[in-house]
């Protein structure tokens, strides 16, 4: 390879790395907030976002730039699903330990359990409306929640949401409408 072509290749790689950096910098905070709302646990949300970043860079970094966003959210969605499964197992184990035969002198495992309402810190940082929305979203199916988070908060169009969720555009529309309907019923009378 000639010196000129090598320089050109290095320059392209640097440009590509900068583009990835810009993309991730622009998405990381929103992704973190979305992961927080889905997982209701900041540490888990951070882990999920970091893992999604690494996987995107490793596996899809060479894909066209306009595909990064839906691919990133698809990876994040999978990480969130994994984390939710782990949370369920943890809760089941804790529920078992906190049964009637549990040792009274042992530390209460429920104290360290994930509070579905979030930590006081979380409650303070968000707006009241957002806190209410989180509560409602927690009660929805995961697909409805995803459709709402991606379409409304992340501004995905139907096609992008379908890629991120790994389903048809028709399903996205249905899940989104049901999520909005549930939110409207729950928050209909809510006024700031």
């Amino acid at each position: 390879m000639s010196l000129g072509r090598r320089d050109e290749s290095r320059e392209t790689t640097v440009d590509w790395e900068r583009a990835l950096d810009r993309f991730l910098a622009g998405i990381e905070r929103r992704a973190f907030r979305i992961a927080c709302m889905a997982l209701r646990d900041r540490a888990e949300a951070e882990d999920a976002v970091q893992d999604a970043m690494i996987r995107l860079v490793r596996n899809y970094g060479r894909h066209p730039e306009d595909q990064w966003r839906p691919l990133f959210y698809r990876i994040l969605r999978n990480r969130i699903t994994d984390a939710q499964r782990r949370q369920k197992v943890r809760r089941a184990v804790m529920a078992w330990w906190s049964g009637p035969e549990a040792d009274e002198s042992a530390p209460d495992p429920l104290e360290s359990a994930v509070d579905p309402r979030g930590t006081p810190e979380q409650e303070l940082e968000g707006e009241e409306l957002l806190a209410r929305i989180e509560e409602v979203l927690a009660a929805l199916s995961s697909r409805q929640r995803e459709a709402f988070l991606l379409r409304n908060f992340e501004g995905f169009d139907v096609a992008q949401a379908a890629i991120a969720m790994g389903c048809s555009e028709g399903s996205v529309k249905t899940h989104y409408f049901r999520a909005m309907h549930s939110l409207q019923l729950a928050l209909g009378e809510w006024k700031p």
Binding site: R6, S9, R10, R30, F153, L183
Partner: protein
């Protein structure tokens, strides 16, 4: 979708955007570090450039040459055999020589007969 739903969409999106903007510095910093880690992995996985491969390639070529030379030293065929092998190869490479084999069947029968006589 009715107007109330649209209003709910708008207000909830605004609240979400506000929560993103108001993320604490510590969380922002941790996210930036996570991003740096992801990109660092990219650099670690990058294939080394030609400048690195040139000496590696030269060393590999030298090693292969040394191995072939040693092998030749230990099991070199006699010069006649090497020449015959070269001629076989040359003959196989040229299509017309195969045709000659069929045309001169009488000659080869005679040659075989002569050789049998010589051996016997």
């Amino acid at each position: 979708m009715n107007d109330d739903m649209r209003e709910l969409e708008r207000r909830s999106r605004a609240a979400f955007d506000e929560s993103v903007e108001s993320l604490d510095a510590e969380t922002r910093s941790r996210l930036a570090r996570a991003r740096a880690r992801a990109l660092a992995e990219l650099r670690e996985r990058r294939v080394p450039g030609p400048a690195v491969w040139v000496p590696v390639g030269a060393a590999a070529a030298a090693l292969v040459a040394a191995m072939l030379w040693q092998r030749e030293e230990s099991a070199a065929p006699p010069p006649d055999a090497a020449l015959a092998a070269f001629e076989d190869l040359d003959m196989m490479a040229g299509g017309e020589d195969f045709e000659m084999l069929h045309e001169d069947e009488g000659f080869y029968a005679w040659a075989e007969e002569q050789m049998s006589d010589g051996v016997g």
